[in-house]
Amino acid sequence: MRLVERYVLSYALAIVVSGLLLMVMGIREIEIYYAVYLIEFLMSLELVASFRRSFGRDLRPIIMVFLFGFAYTVAQRILQILS
């Protein structure tokens, strides 16, 4: 199995398992799911990028999108606290 395929499969497995776990724990905030998925994404990417540096560079747009989403949820939470 190719490195990319292994990466996608392992990430998919990780987020499905963690998603189910969070569901069982009764977590209802989507921001928490998002943050967990983002952490898993970055962790798995770092593991794969140790073998292939260009892979990390190629996925940079996706990382930016994920971080933008994360920044949005953080900003929303701050506004919620301030109001």
Binding site: Y11, I15, I27, R28, R53
Partner: protein, 385 residues
């Protein structure tokens, strides 16, 4: 339905129906077998005269590359020139075994099914995109349902599905290249090296020269004179010539070539973010393995071992097995005496890590396995340390 196709696969020089093009002046001759050109008077190389002409092949039905060539033959049945069959036919026959003595010749024939082994990659890519879009749609659907039903925890799974789908679609949108394309772009240049080796005809063993700096390009020296005990260091680092002639020392006269795997090694070092010159004897075997198997994915497995007087590698072919097979058949001198690009990567990495000249004792390519044996130039391992 099986049908017989006549593929007209040609290269510069020979044309169909026994005609030959003079490599010097381009004049077309009426029939092969003549030794000298009518126009310029120069000698026609034997290699051109010996080339076989149209050959009947039986394509497998599932090979779309062969069907493409067949379609091309149907659409241009009346054209006879050498460039009619063109790129399609050339690509179709890359893994052939019929042109053993013709390094530049594009092969065709019985091994056409090799190309079809890797062809479904585009189909897999299509499936990957469909899967990705489906997962994105499923994720959005789940998120909407969770909002409508009021089951907030479901939206977590919807988000997961959405993200995986997005990743699949994005990864698919990146360009990927078929192994056949790599093979096609490599064979011509290796064919030229093969011709140089054949014309000059040295029977000596190639010496991979040590690199001093991390930015040095690994070079390989092929002495023109037999030397059973070459010196431990040839000191050719300052040379930038193809043909090195040293009147004072005949052992330093020979061909100085860039190693076939030098560029691949540079890419491997870039991907691994390390330089083999910094690695010790113990670490570099693991680094070669992870570089060739995980990073570049040019091999399925790499096993290396230190012996008393050298290093040996056993490399199992990965996605580029057809390329390796074609190289072993079409450019046998390059494959056995300099090493194919895949073998050469491992040799270059070893030279860089060990920091000694290595003599390539032998490189064999059989049944998807490359076996490379290297000997330290001028002494054993103990002397090195």
């Amino acid at each position: 339905m099986r049908e017989k196709e006549v593929l007209q696969v040609q290269q510069t020089g020979p044309t169909r129906l026994g005609a030959v093009v003079c490599p010097s002046c381009g004049a077309r001759r009426l029939h092969a077998g003549m030794l000298h050109c009518d126009q310029c008077g120069k000698r026609i190389p034997d290699s051109i005269n010996k080339l076989e002409h149209p050959e009947v092949v039986e394509p497998r039905e599932e090979s779309h590359l062969i069907r493409k060539a067949a379609r091309l033959a149907e659409t241009v049945p009346s054209r006879r020139s050498s460039d009619v069959a063109g790129p399609s036919a050339r690509v179709a026959g890359l893994s052939d075994n019929t042109a053993k003595s013709q390094p530049g010749t594009i092969a065709r024939g019985q091994d056409m099914h090799h190309a079809s082994v890797d062809v479904p990659s585009s189909m897999l890519g299509g499936r990957q995109r469909v899967l990705g879009v489906s997962l994105v749609a499923f994720g959005i659907l789940i998120a909407v349902v969770s909002v409508v039903v009021g089951a907030a925890s479901l939206s977590g799974l919807g988000l997961a599905s959405f993200l995986i789908g997005l990743l699949l679609v994005y990864l698919h949108s990146r360009p990927s290249f078929a192994p056949e394309l790599v093979e096609a772009s490599l064979l011509s240049s290796l064919g030229n090296v093969e011709r140089i080796l054949r014309e000059l005809g040295p029977t000596t063993k190639a010496i991979y020269l040590k690199t001093i700096d991390r930015l040095d390009v690994p070079m390989v020296f092929l002495p023109l004179e037999e030397n059973p005990a070459p010196p431990s260091g040839l000191n050719l680092s300052g040379e930038d010539r193809l043909l090195v002639i040293d009147s004072g020392d005949s052992h330093r006269t020979g061909l100085l070539l860039e190693a076939p795997g030098a560029s691949l090694l540079a890419l491997m070092e870039k991907e691994l973010d390390l330089s083999f010159i910094d690695l010790g004897n113990d670490d570099f075997l693991n680094a070669i393995r992870s570089g060739m198997v995980e990073s570049l994915e040019v091999a399925a497995d790499v096993k290396g071992a230190f012996t008393q007087d050298g290093v040996s590698f056993r490399i199992r072919d990965g996605p580029l097995r057809n390329m390796a097979r074609s190289i072993a058949r079409l450019v046998p001198n390059v494959a056995s005496r300099l090493g194919c690009p895949i073998c050469s990567v491992a040799i270059c990495a070893a030279v860089k890590a060990i920091k000694r000249d290595l003599i390539l004792e032998g490189a064999t390519h059989q049944a998807g396995v490359h076996s490379v044996t290297l000997r330290f130039s001028g002494g054993s391992t103990d002397e090195a340390s």
